[in-house]
Symmetry: C2
Subunit: 184 residues, 2 copies
DNA sequence: CGCTAGATTCACAAACTTGTGAAGTTAAGA
DNA sequence: TCTTAACTTCACAAGTTTGTGAATCTAGCG
């Protein structure tokens, strides 16, 4: 077996690094599990959440199935299932390592932005259901009017989302420009 | 048993009403189940979602445990559990019907607004975990920097949320004023 | 063109979740 | 103060989800 894949993130307890920092695997694992738990609370499947958090906390941002399995103490089958979901929702991408039959999974840097943008679709579906509801209940009935108000709120949210994401892009670009300046 | 509680929403198939609308119970139930399913997809417990959707679709906006049980075909125990959750998260309020030992459960008109405002707390918790993560990973490590960027995004979101809710309040008040005008 | 590392699929068992009936508790009204 | 309608709690059964090992598939490489 090749030793290549050990270069990015070691599994030893701690590791000195060029800037004088040590990576405390115990602390890292605690972060991974804690953050994954919060993603689960927010509705994500457990294993997908753990895999995602693990990738997020890796220095390279890229890990193989075997590495994920070792860090999370799960079988290749579990990793496979998690990756299937995560790539479906575009939170990780799959890369084939050239000159190898081993896949590498990478976190997208814009995951959160993308995830939020995808909420747009969810809102649209909700709005569809609410519109049907207004019809079923009768738009002049008290219940119909109540559902209608909810619909207005979601429509408002959806509009706001557009502006919000635009402002985020500007905010991010401004930040990056500052970082570039500082580096010079 | 008193017949009082039948006054607000009948269980018969359809009902003529003063404005000439009929309430098609089959269609209403379909809306309730469909909307509840979407709430479940978004992470809510099944029974809580059904109870909430049912209240939302009732003309009075107020139902008793027995009415909820009959409409959703579930036991009083199930209703009790759902209501416990919903009142914990402030999506329904409990009222004691005066001169009776029967509770009534009411949907809040501002549920969605409130629910979104509560997201604020969730974000704060996430930010806490992310901050710990940056420390664990070392703020100058690539992973630490990646988590840090995520943290910035969530901080941005939290700021935006404040403005968004403020704009919603204005939007809503403007709408209500227009409705008042039209009624005159 | 076959061998084999690695990914995927699948049936199953363990763990968790959900809703029920029954027992227990509370408080309105006589 | 007693009775009893209505809510709540609890143990359990049914249903669902999750992760595993084993079998299967895929595609680099000799």
């Amino acid at each position: 077996m090749s030793e290549q894949h050990r270069s990015a993130d070691r599994t030893a307890e701690t590791r000195p690094d060029p800037t004088g920092h040590a990576r405390d695997d115990e602390a890292v694992s605690q972060f991974v599990e804690r953050f994954a738990a919060q993603l689960v609370d927010a509705g994500m499947q457990r294993m997908s959440a753990r895999v995602f958090a693990c990738l997020l906390a890796s220095d390279s941002g890229v890990l193989t199935s075997a590495e994920l399995g070792e860090r999370l103490q799960v079988s290749p089958a579990a990793v496979s299932g998690a990756i299937r979901y995560l790539s479906q929702v575009d939170m990780v991408s799959r890369e084939r390592e050239p000159g190898s039959r081993r896949d590498r999974y990478r976190v997208h840097s814009d995951q959160w932005y993308e995830a939020l943008a995808r909420r747009d679709n969810v809102l649209t579906r909700w709005e569809g259901t609410l519109r049907e509801g207004v019809v079923s209940l009768g738009e002049d009935s008290p219940a119909g009017r109540r559902i209608g108000e909810t619909l207005v709120f979601f429509e408002f949210l959806q509009t706001e989302l557009t502006g919000l994401l635009q402002r985020w892009r500007e905010h991010r670009d401004r930040m990056r420009a500052e970082l570039e300046d500082a580096a010079r």
